[in-house]
Structures are given as structure tokens and as C-alpha cells.
């Protein structure tokens, strides 16, 4: 059984998990909720197994590199990290609602990787610039950061839905964690994401210095990661120093995540050195 095959099954399990989470949330039922968590854990385990198997397969093919070298592999890893963070947050909050928002996102990411016709799931040999020990550290920290921001984005969306539903008296209040909790986890996850994005940019800089002879070159991907970093730095300053909370922080977190998405996908349409993530 090949890793691509396992990962396409995992995509399906994520979809089932997402449906169950949403059903549990809407109908406020316990059983689908329990099933949803089990599905998510199984999918994440399969996702991790798929990545490890792919790693082994690349050694069998005589290339021997970590599976973090193209858009397909990065999306698969991204799905896994979001799933883990989502499970941790669910456990810490004691509420399954967050899964109803994260699992569709995970499904979108991995389905795009597995099902998109112009995405290559072949294991490719590493080009010379990618042959470095920094590959693993750089990609892992960047995607931990991106995943933290993704779940923060989800919490911000939930916050906005929550406050809108409580403002609107006629409407049935939507079953969501309290706005204080949502505001707080947004902040926590932004700090988590910011910490790892910082390390991701730094490891990238050290790597660039050993491969290209400069630690910073204003390459579009570098610049966009800095733009993302600055937006979240602005969010943290606004919150910690000027006491911003609630809606304004939620909006900043959504803007920040759009910058993450652009850094991830949009930059491929700009000229630059970071073309590994491009579609073939």
C-alpha cells in the first residue's frame, strides 16, 4: 500500500469526521460528537503514518529525503498539524465545537493535495538547493506557525459568529464557547503561531545564508512571511499594550491568516527563488 493511497483514504476519513462534528454541533448530540473525535484521531494517525511511509518510500527509491519538499507534501503535513492542534484545543476547552470549524479546513487542505488534478503526488528527488539539514527544521516550524494561525482564524470566526448571534435577540443563540474563551484562545494560538513563525523565518534565514550567501534577500516569499509576521506583531502589540480585545482582534487575526494564505499560495505567482511549492 503506497503512501498516496493511505493519504487518499485519510482524506475521506477527515471528511467523515467533519460531517460528524458539524452534525454533533447543530443537533447538539453526544454520540456523533464522540464518533467525530474518534474519526479525527484515526485520520490524524493515518495522516502521520502516511507521512512516515512516504519518508521511507523516498529512501527505497534512493532519494532519501524528508517529505517536505513540494506543495503536496506540505499540504499533507499542514493537515496533520492543524488536526493535532484542533484535538489539543478540544481537550483543553472540553468542547467539541471547535472541531466543527477546523475539520472542514483540514479536509479542504488535504483534499486539494490529494484530489487536485494538477498536483503531483510523485516523490521527486531533491534539487541541490533543498539538500540541507535545515529543510526539516524550517518547514516544520513554518507549518506549526501556519497551523497555529489557522486555528486562531477558526476561533476568530467562531467569536464573530458568537457575538453576532448574542447581539441578535430574536435568533436562537448558537451553541458556541463563551466569547471570552474564544477571544482568549485566539490570543493563545496567535502567540503559538507567532513563536513558530519567528523560528521558521529565522531557520529560513540561516539556511538561505548557507545556500545563497545571504540571510535576507527580499525574495517575495521572504517578504510576505515578514509581512505576515508584522501583522501578527501588530495584533499582539494592540492587544497587550493598547488593550484591544474581541472583535478588533478577531478581525486582525482574520487579516493575518489571509496573509498566511497568500504567503503560502499566492507568492507562487510572483517571481522569486521559493518556487519549490509551485505546481508542476
Amino acid at each position: 500500500m503506497s503512501s498516496s493511497y493511505i493519504l487518499s483514504i485519510v482524506t475521506f476519513v477527515y471528511a467523515v469526521s467533519a460531517c460528524l462534528y458539524i452534525a454533533a454541533w447543530i443537533f447538539k448530540k453526544n454520540l456523533p460528537g464522540k464518533l467525530a473525535v474518534s474519526c479525527l484521531i484515526i485520520a490524524a494517525a493515518g495522516n502521520a503514518a502516511g507521512i512516515l511511509l512516504r519518508w521511507k518510500e523516498s529512501y527505497d527509491l534512493g532519494m532519501g529525503h524528508a517529505p517536505f519538499s513540494n506543495l503536496y507534501e506540505s499540504l499533507v503535513f499542514y493537515s496533520l498539524v492543524i488536526a493535532i492542534i484542533s484535538l489539543v484545543m478540544e481537550f483543553r476547552l472540553g468542547s467539541r465545537v471547535i472541531g466543527a470549524f477546523t475539520t472542514p479546513l483540514i479536509f479542504l487542505a488535504i483534499a486539494y493535495a490529494s484530489l487536485s488534478p494538477n498536483m503531483s503526488d510523485h516523490i521527486q528527488p531533491l534539487i541541490p538547493a533543498l539538500k540541507s539539514n535545515w529543510l526539516i527544521a524550517h518547514v516544520m516550524t513554518c507549518f506549526l506557525g501556519y497551523a497555529g494561525f489557522a486555528v486562531a482564524f477558526v476561533a476568530s470566526l467562531m467569536y464573530l459568529i458568537k457575538t453576532r448571534s448574542t447581539e441578535d435577540r430574536d435568533q436562537q443563540p448558537i451553541h458556541l464557547p463563551s466569547s471570552t474563551v474564544l477571544d482568549d484562545i485566539t490570543h493563545q494560538l496567535v502567540m503559538f503561531g507567532f513563536f513558530f513563525l519567528t523560528i521558521g523565518i529565522i531557520t529560513g534565514a540561516v539556511w538561505a545564508n548557507s545556500a545563497w550567501g545571504r540571510y535576507w534577500g527580499w525574495d517575495p516569499k521572504e517578504t510576505w512571511s515578514l509581512i505576515t509576521w508584522i501583522i501578527y506583531a501588530g495584533l499582539l502589540h494592540a492587544r497587550l499594550m493598547r488593550g484591544w480585545q474581541g472583535k478588533r482582534i478577531a478581525l486582525l487575526s482574520i487579516i493575518g491568516f489571509s496573509a498566511v494564505i497568500f504567503t503560502y499560495f499566492g507568492v507562487n505567482y510572483l517571481p522569486g527563488l521559493h518556487s519549490y511549492g509551485q505546481m508542476p
Binding site: 521527486q124 528527488p125 534539487i127 541541490p128 538547493a129 539538500k131 540541507s132 474563551v181 482568549d184 493563545q188 502567540m191 503559538f192 507567532f194 513563536f195 519567528t198 523560528i199 529565522i202 534565514a205 540561516v206 539556511w207 545564508n209 548557507s210 545556500a211 545563497w212 550567501g213 545571504r214 540571510y215 535576507w216 527580499w218 517575495p220 517578504t223 510576505w224 515578514l226 509581512i227 508584522i230 501583522i231 506583531a233 501588530g234 502589540h237 494592540a238 497587550l240 499594550m241 493598547r242 507568492v267 510572483l270 517571481p271
Partner: protein, 579 residues
């Protein structure tokens, strides 16, 4: 007196503005917003490329705003400078207050503040306060850096705190930004950034700087002993490897194979594998085949050297080598260009594509074979034939006439410092005021001022350019067309040639890197402290008398209030479990 007071107030306002978070956020957002522009406009491209892409008006506008190298523009650097000033002043403004909190010997605890905490934990134990006091104090002392026991009114309070120093974390992060920017400034002032190509077997001792055309001596010599490129089965490059020797005082002091990601470092100078290419071959074996008799002869030749052919066939000289040669929409690949001078008759120029030794320009089959071969490789090409074009520049000022040769796309200097000239294309049929006037060379003049002008030079009308009334009249004097490889019944082909690579190295010196890396480490540690640790203060109040004690467990933290709430729950649970 009033003036002095006013000045003081004014200074105070300025200081507060420079120390404000408002300024930080404004500068950060300006940096983010302007950085976007630099990712949309490709940076540091050639100015004629920009001119072509954006047109004259936008070109002037962008150029005036320094948008073609915006990250080094004065206004972008000024934003960074303001950020540094903001960070430094903000720190100077706040650190003394934090210093007091962190270094205080007897921290103050306000019992009312702890009692007021909404999420304080309460429970009752059926033991007298004195029995609990010792046990609780011991537990707290194990988990907190500082604690003291105080009697306040009728109750006993155990105050404790830890993580005071974590209040410095954020200043570590701010300081690290200053360190990184200082490091980059050191690199800018004391470092350089250049490039050098070294052919295999040759030695260099200087590199060409990337900004400007100056040459930077390295202080030692570097020889490229060998260059190798290997490929994967799918054709993607696998490894570029250069064997370099560092030579000082005629002795090899260091030898190293460099690959991408593993540069050579010597005396503060780094050499990175960056590109490679083939040198024009200088030795080759040329075969001459008479079409009629089928008789052929192989001759060893050197680039540019005239050889005399046997059987009164005249002389031959290999003049040039192109790594790629387009012909009638086909790519012929590596191609030699030569000139055959028959014993009687005029010289003939010939193209000799190495992959197609049988190539005969007059034989339709020969061209078709090339086409069939390339269709299988799915190559498509619509290029025009490149031509070496000889131009004459006649200066109005001095009356001098200069002759210059160039091929399409090649930039040449216009004599007398009038700027540069590029032949942008060759038109098969050029129309002037509605009348076709035959083949014309279209070129572009770029003056020192940056101004551009497009000129059309019809081949048949050498005085055409006088109409432009410029400082130079340009005319086409020689419009060389590639000649057949088989002329006069002779096929000329190159059988073998000496293959030699050069390695392209990025050469840098950056003494600021260590400072930048120190900044990286401080940034990571500082971020950790700032985000994941806090200054936690706890109060355990034991009140009541006789057998029962009411216990209040309350805590505050400067960050992560919800986390502190959980910690207090945990602490009160642990205290209740103590025996």
C-alpha cells in the same frame, strides 16, 4: 522661564510620541504595506526591461520613487530607522519601572487585591490554621522562588511569587530586532557581495561586485580544479560540485569541494556554488566531406586559427561557438560557426551544428531530419535567425565614424559616451509611411540620463537615421546572413571538441552575520519568555480559629489570566491533598 517650561513640555511630547505603541503600530503597518509593493514589482531588473513593461510614464514615476530597488530606498530605510528609534526609546522609557519590580527585595502584596479576585478558590479544612501554615509554606517554597508568611489582622497569609525576571522577555525581543538591524548595517558597511566565474583549471583573485562594475580583490587566489554537474534520471539537477583550491604565496593552503548549501569559507570571505556554464571550446576536430566523392578528411583545429585544407580545398577557420542556435524555427543545439575560403572564390560562412553532423543547409531532407528529431522532443521555437550586424555610428559633434558589431539583444556602448544601444529585433519587412522599405534593424538607445529612444535602421537606406536629428547617425553596414554548411559540394561538421566548464560563484563577506545570528538567538529565547512564561503572584490566606480553617487560594499573573485561573485550581487541589 516660561520658554524653558514650554520647551520641556515640547520635549516631553516628542519623547512620549517616540515611545508610544501607536507609533510602533503605525510604522509596522507602513513597513508591511510598502513591502507588498516590492513583491509586485520585480526588484533590481534591468532598466530597459522596466521601460518595456511599464511604459514611459509609469517608469519615470516608479523610478522617481525608487520602487525598482525599494528595500534600499531612503524612505524604506527611514521607516526602519524610525522603528529602531521607537524600540530604543520605548525600552528606555519602560525598563526602569520593570527594573524596580524585578529587583525589589521585599515585594509588596496587597491582600485586598487577592481577596477581590473573582476566580479565587475557597475551601474549608477541619484543622486549625497553625497546623496548615507550616505544611503549606513548605509546599509553596518548593514551587515558588520567593515566599513569605505574614499575619494580617486575624488571618495568616502566605505570599509567594515567581517569574519576576520574565518581565524582561519582551525587551529581549526588542533588543534582538536592534541587534539584527545593527548586524545588517555592519554587513552593509564592512562587507561586500559579488560574483565570479572561474573556468576549470584557472585562478582568480578578485570578484565583480553586484552593485556597480567594480572589482573586489579577495586577498588570496582561488583556483577551480574541477567542476561537475550530475542529473537525476528525470533530468532534474542533482548536484553541482566545484573543487576549489585557495592559494596564498604560491602555495595551496586549503582545498575544498563546494556544493550548494556547503560553501567555502576562508578569511571571512564565503564562496557559494551559484551557477555554471560551458566555456566556448578552444580545440575541436573538424570533418570535411565532399558530397560528390564521399571522400572525407578530419582535421584538428583551434578556435580562430586558420587551417589549410588538403586537395586544394582552400582554408578554413572556426570562428565562433553558440550553445544554442535557432534555425528556421528549429533549435540546432551547440553549433560552431566557421568560414571557408575556397582556393578560388569568395569566403563562405558556415554553420556546423554539433548534434547534426550531416546537416546540409541546401538539402531539404537534412532540415526535415532536424525537424522530425525535435518534434519528438516537443521543442518549439519561433526565433528569428540571429545575425551579426555591423553598425556605423557617425558623430555629429566630431564627424568621426565608428564601426561596431552586435547580435540581437546584445548591449553595446555608443561611442563618445552617448549611452548604450541594443538591437531589439530584425524586421523582414519594415514599413515607413505606408511604404515597405525592406529589411530593417530595430534598436533602442538608452542615454546616460535613463531616457530611451527607439530607432529603425533600414538596411538599404544608410542615411535614413539622419532624419532623427540625433547626436549620432546610425546605419547598418553589414547585414550578415548565415551561410550554408554545405557550399561548393562540401559538408563541414565538428566531430569532437574539448569540453570545459566554468563555475559561477557568489562571493560575499559579511562580518555582521554573527551579530545577526546573536539577534536570532535572543529573539527566539525572548519570544519564548514573553509568550509562554509570566510573573505569577499567589496569596494563600488561612483564616478562622479553633478547629476549622477557611482557606483562600488566589493568584494574579501579568499574562495569560485564564491559565493562571487553571493553575490556582490546580494549586488548591494539591494543597487539599497535602497531609
Amino acid at each position: 522661564m516660561k520658554n524653558a517650561a514650554e520647551r520641556l513640555a515640547f520635549h516631553h511630547t516628542i519623547w512620549n510620541f517616540l515611545a508610544s505603541v501607536r507609533l510602533t503600530v503605525i510604522v509596522l503597518l507602513s513597513l508591511a504595506a510598502t513591502s507588498v509593493v516590492g513583491t509586485l514589482i520585480p526588484q533590481n531588473a534591468a532598466s530597459d526591461w522596466y521601460y518595456h513593461k511599464y511604459g514611459e510614464t509609469l517608469f519615470r514615476l516608479f523610478s522617481g520613487m525608487h520602487l525598482f530597488d525599494m528595500y534600499h530606498a531612503w524612505w524604506f530605510q527611514a521607516l526602519i530607522a524610525i522603528l529602531v528609534v521607537n524600540i530604543v526609546i520605548c525600552s528606555i522609557d519602560r525598563i526602569p519601572g520593570v527594573w524596580k519590580i524585578v529587583t525589589v527585595q521585599q515585594p509588596k502584596f496587597n491582600i485586598e487585591q487577592f481577596r477581590k479576585q473573582a476566580d479565587a478558590e475557597n475551601y474549608t479544612v477541619q484543622q486549625p490554621p497553625d497546623a496548615l501554615r507550616e505544611r503549606y509554606a513548605r509546599y509553596v517554597s518548593r514551587h515558588f522562588g520567593y515566599h513569605r508568611v505574614e499575619n494580617i489582622g486575624k488571618s495568616t497569609c502566605i505570599f509567594a511569587e515567581k517569574g519576576r525576571w520574565t518581565r524582561f522577555g519582551v525587551y529581549g525581543v526588542h533588543f534582538s530586532v536592534v541587534l539584527m538591524l545593527t548586524g545588517s548595517l555592519i554587513g552593509l558597511i564592512a562587507g561586500f557581495d559579488g560574483f565570479v566565474n572561474i573556468p576549470e583549471g584557472e585562478t582568480i583573485s578578485a570578484a565583480r561586485l553586484n552593485n556597480g562594475d567594480t572589482s573586489q580583490p579577495l586577498g588570496f587566489a582561488v583556483r577551480c580544479d574541477d567542476f561537475d554537474v550530475s542529473f537525476y534520471e528525470n533530468g532534474a539537477p542533482k548536484e553541482y560540485r566545484s573543487r576549489l583550491s585557495v592559494i596564498e604565496n604560491n602555495a595551496t593552503v586549503l582545498q575544498k569541494d563546494i556544493i550548494v548549501n556547503d560553501p567555502l569559507r576562508y578569511k571571512g570571505i564565503n564562496m557559494y556554488q551559484s551557477s555554471y556554464g560551458k566555456m566556448p571550446p578552444d580545440e575541436m576536430t573538424v570533418r570535411f566531406t565532399a558530397i560528390n566523392s564521399g571522400k572525407s578528411v578530419e582535421v584538428a583545429a583551434k578556435m580562430g586559427e586558420t587551417i589549410t585544407l588538403p586537395d586544394q580545398l582552400g582554408t578554413f577557420v572556426v570562428q565562433d561557438f553558440k550553445s544554442s542556435y535557432p534555425f528556421k524555427g528549429h533549435r540546432l543545439g551547440e553549433t560552431f560557426i566557421g568560414r571557408w575560403t575556397p582556393a578560388s572564390g569568395t569566403p563562405v560562412d558556415m554553420i556546423m551544428p554539433y548534434p547534426f553532423p550531416e546537416f546540409d543547409i541546401h538539402d531539404p531532407d537534412s532540415v526535415q531530419r532536424v525537424a522530425a528529431f525535435q518534434a519528438s522532443e516537443q521543442m518549439s521555437a519561433t526565433e528569428e535567425l540571429p545575425r551579426t550586424i555591423t553598425l556605423e555610428f557617425t558623430s555629429k559633434a566630431s564627424g568621426m565614424t565608428y564601426s561596431r558589431s552586435a547580435s540581437v539583444g546584445e548591449k553595446i556602448e555608443i561611442p563618445e559616451g552617448q549611452g548604450t544601444f541594443v538591437i531589439s529585433e530584425v524586421k523582414r519587412s519594415y514599413a515607413f509611411m505606408g511604404n515597405p522599405i525592406g529589411e530593417a534593424v530595430i534598436g533602442r538607445i538608452e542615454r546616460k540620463s535613463g531616457a530611451m529612444e527607439t530607432v529603425a535602421l533600414p538596411v538599404r537606406f544608410s542615411n535614413f537615421d539622419k532624419m532623427r536629428k540625433g547626436e549620432m547617425v546610425i546605419s547598418v553596414v553589414d547585414f550578415q546572413k548565415p551561410a550554408p554548411a554545405a557550399a561548393g559540394g562540401l559538408i563541414v561538421s565538428v566531430e569532437a571538441y574539448s569540453e570545459k566548464y566554468y563555475t559561477g560563484l557568489q562571493v560575499t563577506k559579511d562580518p555582521g552575520v554573527l551579530v545577526v545570528y546573536l539577534g536570532f538567538i535572543v529573539m527566539i529565547l525572548g519570544s519564548y519568555v514573553t509568550f509562554f512564561t509570566s510573573h505569577q503572584r499567589v496569596c494563600i490566606e488561612l483564616s478562622g480559629s479553633g478547629k476549622n480553617t477557611r482557606v483562600l487560594v488566589s493568584g494574579t499573573a501579568n499574562k495569560n489570566k485564564l491559565g493562571m485561573q487553571k493553575r490556582m485550581k490546580h494549586l488548591s487541589r494539591r494543597l487539599q491533598q497535602l497531609d
